[in-house]
Symmetry: C2
Subunit: 485 residues, 2 copies
Amino acid sequence: MEEGNKVKKYLKEKEGLVTRLGYLQRILKEYKVPVMILFEGVHASGKGRLANELLLALDPRYTRFYATHNPTETELRKPFFWQYFINTPSNTEFAIYYRSWYSLYIAMKNKMVENERYNGNKVLLKEIQAFEKTMKEDGAVLLKFYVEIKPEKQKERLQRMYDNPRTMWKAQEYDKANDKRYQKDMEEIVAEDDSWHKIPYELREKAINDVLRIVVAQLEERLKEEEKKRAETPPPNDGFFDGSFPDILTKYETSGDISKAEYKDRLEILQKEMRDIQYTLYEKKIPLLIVYEGWDAAGKGGNIKRLVQQLDPTGYEIHTTAAPTDIEIRHHYLWRFWQNIPKTGHIAIYDRSWYGRLMVERVEGFAKNKDVKRAYEEINDFEESLTNFGAIVIKFFIHISKEEQLKRFQERQEDENKLWKITDEDWRNREKWDQYVESISDMINKTDTGKAPWVIINGNNKRYARIKALETIRDLCYKEFLNVP
Amino acid sequence: MEEGNKVKKYLKEKEGLVTRLGYLQRILKEYKVPVMILFEGVHASGKGRLANELLLALDPRYTRFYATHNPTETELRKPFFWQYFINTPSNTEFAIYYRSWYSLYIAMKNKMVENERYNGNKVLLKEIQAFEKTMKEDGAVLLKFYVEIKPEKQKERLQRMYDNPRTMWKAQEYDKANDKRYQKDMEEIVAEDDSWHKIPYELREKAINDVLRIVVAQLEERLKEEEKKRAETPPPNDGFFDGSFPDILTKYETSGDISKAEYKDRLEILQKEMRDIQYTLYEKKIPLLIVYEGWDAAGKGGNIKRLVQQLDPTGYEIHTTAAPTDIEIRHHYLWRFWQNIPKTGHIAIYDRSWYGRLMVERVEGFAKNKDVKRAYEEINDFEESLTNFGAIVIKFFIHISKEEQLKRFQERQEDENKLWKITDEDWRNREKWDQYVESISDMINKTDTGKAPWVIINGNNKRYARIKALETIRDLCYKEFLNVP
């Protein structure tokens, strides 16, 4: 009787919470706030029920649900955070994670899932911190629930599953030793990070309301912040150019001249080597990412063409980076690049890349100053998560002089077959040459890491630039091959 | 010497072909013509080289490359055409397929790949025809190349692969018996379908030009057609309403009344059954698709909520169908629904669906008359490819009277918590009630197939509609479970 009254009380409270949550979802969508809510908990702890109740309270049009599962072959051929990053919500969505990167991390730590690619677990814990930081700084609300259940109650629930012929097979999948290890690891994680919310699952209606109440309270708080922010004048978006980074392009570039005849011979040999390298990457299961950045008309496209000419087309992809689509713009700017991370053994070539954040987006003010400032670290973290996985990352900046660019623009305008290559935007970018020099120098300075180095190549001589790029790829790959048996 | 001259001649011709192809790609993009080019051929026939040469001639920004591979677990858990349909080009893209649905079909036919889900090969051949027809009618250029090589030349190439330590492993993967079976099957296919282009691969430069020449010629032809079409006055888009389909909704609907108390009892039992059904689907590896269509305010959302309330959230997804995004609009209208096909054992619920093509798109004229006319067959083919795979497909139309709709609209406008649910569009749609009745009647009449039936439920009484939907799902699933051991 008393329990019955409690339930009624909770059901009544729930009604109000659900209505308010519906309102908060609609209004936060207007404020472009993405919301990420994750549930962890032992087997049969009730986290599925709680996640489903939350789902039911939300508008399915703007809600994603992602369940961590036994990794597929494809997932095992991508870096750890791939499946999660591509499943982050847009800034008009809520995402609910049923088991999350924590479950996958623990499964790898306890060797329930292949983990030969990561040296130790510290690396993954650091990636988790970087990922959550990145999401929060990008404006996401992140809520983490750990559902707790008493051992006797868990046992009772498992028994019920056994007893139902329809769910017996599911109960049989329960691995007690593994579940205990999971519990131990999760309890440690939760103890060390006070952003977790513990939900004791005893009376169902109470547990549901505990979750809803926390979600509503956090969203209310966020709504207030957003309203306050809207009332304030936003800081100016001036790209903070102060000349503090003098041109390092000319200083660090390599340059040279190669005759036509020599070029032909060396190119032929290098292209054969590229094909051999491709097969070796495949055999050794190493993903290779090659970034091409450079001035308009620097010769990136022609350079890439020489690189892939003798490659097997089933093993490489060229990704060109244009203005983001309407869906891309609603996600973290790295989201669209995570979509195209090559799987093990494959080559991805980027004709422009995530570095747009630190060049065009900075110069044009598409990214706010504070976003640019944190992008250096985010990009380093991103590339580290690739190299942690064993990927080779090579970044080229093809540098040409302002005079050489002018010459090439004019050539394009005079050749009817090349006219389409030159746009008004190219001319506009050229006017901002100095701001680009500062941005690029700053960028290279802050993102030239040991594992993902920048190579600045003078492209005034196209033949030299092509040969130099291929030689660099060859040398860096051969060096890496020595580390991988 | 003579060979050297020939090569020179071909290289010169190639230059012109490549320039022209570049132009054709740019102009056909303006005309919104998607282009699909596939390469089939035995092992080491040179199809990779030819595909790569074509790739190099195209603009990577607007070119996709898709290689058919050994199916992944995920692919085996989806219908045959899933991987291909989601990889069709948008109307501003070229797509090159290195091995295609033909290779996959032959691999299944010869039991190189799991095929227990398809009863006989005729079904898949029919699906291939339907797929190609659908793409072409949607405006795609489809070019199919079969690359032929003489046995002694193939042997020589394989030997070269063996001799290179970097490619030896690749040569070792060569399965002679399987390759012979592939060749036999492909030759039969090519003999029966004169849209194939056979490319004998002897002199490389000749073979490359043979491909480029055919591609250029076909695109030139298509360009002419497009120019002609643009010059003509397009036929009017009047939705061809002639009253030829009287309201069949009221005639075939089931309706009833259920008391509150009875509703509560029956709902509780049915929701438990839904959860059992979910586990059974999972155990038997059957995907389930449930489509909800119906008038605005018919109660689709509330009905779906009752359906999923007790389900395990890791096994179902609700897909709501809103206006297409900019990327979706550039693809075949079924493209976005193929993205969300559930894998085996999972449930996908569609709150509105591909039937929008035959309702809102017809009434509003977003789809041209000829597109609407072919959509009936396309949708039947689409659903057949799902049921061929073993999926259960259930389609609900929740019907309410025009008076009931008005009452609900007014209720929504008077309740501040429901106000957001009603939009101007709802009122506008209501004005077109009669055109909708004709469209819907026509649609149900033409797409009510034995394997993917329509169930018309009167939703004036929400309780009845919810119970009826759940009972229908239960009965159709139990019926299907009898067929699957």
